[in-house]
Symmetry: C2
Subunit: 309 residues, 2 copies
């Protein structure tokens, strides 16, 4: 038996805010919420509950499509099954993270950490981001979204990535083998990479030395991209202007860690994209995909089960 395409389940209910947001989005997209046993599509509503999927899908007799809440589906990969159509949240979470990069760049260039810590009128300081030279490590959705936000600043932007394909909006795109040349020529180095065996520790003592001593390091990738002890040394010696880190190694950074005490370091607690920011974004994806599903149109954010992403 085939269920009508407008009949959609939203499960599990373990994360009430996401369940509510997805359920509203289903209805806005023209769907009707039903138990999973009657549904043609399942909106999976808790990114922390991948383990609950097998029991849930066992109750589904008519489900053909599963929408996941994730950007990357690493934690779900063992449940992917080619007898269903899968979609995920790929791309939807990039804008808040790109906004974090803009926030961190401007806070660094305009000396906001110093001013925020001052208890009396400080000396004038700061430089303009307008016209600056920037290197972005990684050529994914976050980088594309960032390049669209920074466009009015007329910056010189170099994207450093594995493949040679040009990233739209960048001044130039180069491959990773040219990273060392790029590092000495820019006012800020922005890490927006996935963590792999090839990118772990990509910023180490040698590469921090290669950076200009008035350049900033930003990390919104993963803590493991930077060798923390090497960064502490570089910051202590003023080998670089400073660092803004949304991710750290270890994370969370323990009390008493030297990075908490350095004036030229700003730590933010993994807030590139918070759950509160992401909820309306994944809801938008659900709304659009439900409307497309009902109209029998191609879905946005498909997962390739064979490739696992």
């Amino acid at each position: 038996m085939t269920a009508a395409r407008n009949l959609i389940a939203v499960e599990p209910t373990s994360r009430p805010e996401m369940h509510l947001a997805m359920a509203s989005a289903v209805e806005e997209g023209g769907g009707t919420i039903v138990p999973i046993s009657e549904a043609s599509g399942l909106m999976f509503a808790d990114p922390m509950a991948a383990d609950s999927f097998p029991d849930l899908i066992a109750q589904a007799t008519n489900v053909e499509w599963v929408q996941l809440p994730y950007a990357g589906v690493e934690t779900f990969v063992q449940h992917l099954d080619a007898s269903y159509t899968w979609t995920c949240g790929k791309g939807v979470y990039a804008p808040p993270v790109a906004e974090w990069i803009m926030t961190a760049l401007l806070a660094a260039f305009r000396d906001i950490p110093t001013f925020a810590r001052a208890k009396s009128w400080p000396a004038q300081a700061g430089r303009n981001l307008l016209g600056a030279r920037l290197a972005i490590l990684g050529g994914g959705g976050i980088t594309e979204s960032f390049l669209s936000l920074i466009k009015p600043w007329d910056c010189d932007t170099t994207v450093v990535r594995r493949q040679a394909a040009h990233v739209v909006g960048a001044t130039r795109t180069v491959t990773t083998d040219q990273l060392d040349d790029v590092l000495g020529r820019v006012d800020a180095v922005i890490i927006a990479l996935a963590l792999t065996s090839q990118t772990r520790g990509i910023i180490d003592a040698r590469r921090l030395q290669a950076m200009r001593n008035d350049a900033w390091l930003l990390n919104v990738g993963r803590g493991g991209h930077v060798v923390t002890d090497d960064l502490v040394n570089a910051l202590r010696n003023n080998d670089i202007a400073g660092a803004v880190l949304d991710v750290t190694d270890p994370e969370p950074l323990p009390d008493g860690h030297p990075l908490w005490t350095l004036d030229n370091c700003l730590i933010t607690p993994h807030v590139g994209n918070t759950p509160a920011m992401g909820l309306p974004l994944i809801a938008d994806r659900v709304r659009e995909n439900v409307a497309r599903w009902i109209a029998n149109e191609p879905l946005v954010g498909p997962v390739d089960v064979g490739l696992g992403y």
Copy 2:
């Protein structure tokens, strides 16, 4: 006697960085630096030395044009003389100030002051500027420049100004009599006004009450636009989310002032446009105007001697 138009003086020499930057710009524009007695144009090279102008111009027998370093010419107005052509730096300093507004908005929305002051891993916090509703008080060059920087954020922007003329890039432009209606509907209120008898104290206790309690106040105009004691009360009572102030009343803010102690207040020391940021911008104006002067083309940034601006 009329001097050749390429003969230009740069005086006084009391501010060496500005003298050097303007002298280079004169040469880049096709001019030749000569003593003031031989010059057809004078580049006035010290914004703090208006008093030296009468003695300087007394040595000029052929000067027809004076380029001033100011955006506003209030401190120079008693020296304006209709027998010369006058130009100033109006418009050139807007981009750094617009960049300050973006910095302050992002720092506020993404909770950077809290993170900068933390000495252990803080709770996740922050909201997106993307899609926010903003009110900008003032419709001048700073506002125009700001609207071009924030364009990719898809914000809803209401410019509140004296005249009804629409500001390019704003979602809507309204007149000052509608200010009270606007205040309750926006996530941030940005003061980018000139200080006049009509705008002094424009943000007082009543208008702070009219703002949403999750809205931020930014001031990059003059300290006198905000009634400081009323702001302290509003911040203490969490009537608004917080304030970011580049200008204060009194300024500099004295040690021990309550604003230094409030977690929801960030003070920056009048750095919307610093001398270091402004120097290349006024140099660009000088270069362009020297080239235009030599080619007998209309100059940029003319001052109307009768109106005094």
